[in-house]
Symmetry: C2
């Protein structure tokens, strides 16, 4: 009998953000908004004599996940299957950490609440420098608006009450840690303006428009990304850049209509789902 657990979590594309550092990783985080993609990350976790983390069958260092396993005192083999690329603005490290927190808690018959588990995964992502707001967004699903930064108890979320298909194409990695270690003043200012705009009109089209404006003002666009976005807009579509990756996302079939070979996704309607013989959904 395989005593492993299968856990599914959404990917999270951040459209815009402001960084909010803090000494306590539960209070640190980001405000901003994005879109979650249904079931994009599947994690299998089972007890093992040694800790091992595989992403797409290859041993991979994911410090956020190591933090979660240490905090929960679980030695496990973690295999993640991801339908989105790493280092490209989909929050994959946070997603695997979140899946592990829920899976390890159940395997160990530990008695943590959902908020505690989200907090542990969020802290792991923050301390690793791989994400500031992905974990809380991935737990909510939908199109989360991060009103206040931080883990449950500190952060505050809202959401856009809409669901539309989403497409993306990825053109290579960007280092979140490097960009966040640099001067983020322009980013933070542009992120605050975008959040204000989205709160006035919380729709998916406004989210993309504010994200587009944010990417330009924060000076994060490359020529290649700018060209793709312009191509989508030329066919009447809505597109922007995923933060932080060389990735363009679009509503509906905007990228396909502009002639790109894009990856289609549904928006997530739920966050973490433990899938197994006793917990199917």
């Amino acid at each position: 009998m395989d005593s492993g657990l299968l856990v599914r979590v959404p990917a999270h594309i951040t459209g815009f953000f402001s960084a909010h550092p803090a000494a306590d990783p539960l209070q640190a985080g980001s405000t901003g908004a994005g879109i979650t993609l249904a079931d994009a990350i599947t994690v299998r976790i089972h007890p093992a004599s040694e800790r091992e983390i595989l992403v797409g069958n290859r041993p991979t260092a994911v410090p956020a996940v190591e933090h979660v396993l240490s905090e929960l005192d679980v030695t496990a083999r973690v295999s993640a299957y991801v339908e989105v690329p790493l280092g490209s603005g989909f929050g994959v490290s946070g997603a695997i950490a979140l899946a592990c927190a829920f899976g390890a808690n159940q395997l160990a018959e530990d008695d943590r609440s959902e908020n505690e588990l989200i907090g542990i995964a969020h802290a792991g992502d923050v301390l690793a420098g791989t994400g500031l707001g992905d974990v809380v967004a991935q737990h909510r699903g939908g199109a989360p608006i991060r009103l206040e930064p931080g883990a449950p108890g500190y952060g505050r979320l809202d959401g856009i009450p809409e669901s539309r298909p989403v497409e993306w194409i990825a053109r290579g990695e960007l280092s979140t840690a490097e960009i966040l270690a640099g001067d983020t003043e322009a980013i933070d200012r542009a992120g605050a303006t975008a959040l204000e705009g989205l709160r006035e009109e919380p729709t998916l089209e406004r989210l993309v428009a504010e994200s587009r404006q944010f990417a330009a003002e924060a000076d994060l666009l490359t020529d290649q990304i700018e060209t793709i976005i312009a191509d989508v807009e030329a066919v009447g579509g809505h597109a922007s850049m995923a933060m932080l990756g060389h990735t363009v996302f679009a509503l509906d079939d905007g990228l396909s209509r502009a002639g790109y070979d894009a990856n289609p996704h549904r928006m997530a309607s739920s966050g973490v789902r433990i899938v197994g013989p006793e917990a199917q959904d």
Copy 2:
């Protein structure tokens, strides 16, 4: 072309609660905990020249829904199909109100955020006296713990990170409004004790055990309900009473094993889902 929208929401079985009245319906609510049942309520909403609310094809007064339609200034025909009985502790009125809030917002191309829509549905349920905590629980899905009462911005939620099958049988209605209008001191005291216990050990079995204790201490059990719960416990199962209804719920197949002809459900992994040609999930 049918321009209607189909919206699915979970039912919510409350295991225990404390009432927290307040002049502002957004601040009023309850603390406590319960279990949400996947896709138990389906609501079809479309624009119409006159307001009409049907539950199971019969014209039905649902004041919480009327509040939502008035607040959003939408005239619509609302048809709800429910897999759980009315007035039996499943939060049906709150569920229909929540579905209507999301559906009417989209039909009217209004630009409310998720938190605003949850608030409007919550206020409708509170003002109608039909529910105090169902709406916020139904939006979260899973097994929600209501730490602080009220709509988003006031209330605070946690959850039990587990999913197990649930069964129920209903033996008739109980009036939430009547019980809440009476002396709720014993209820509120028992609810606070149960919440403290569940926060120490946030598992589904503890939820049922605390609910069982609550029902006895708050003096809400009838002989019939007590017998059914005892029968489930006699076969090693976990059961308690749904608040507020003559309904028994059990984990896994506890009721079937005790010989009852029970209704099986999956726990909900998500809250509101707008299902339609453009928003399938």
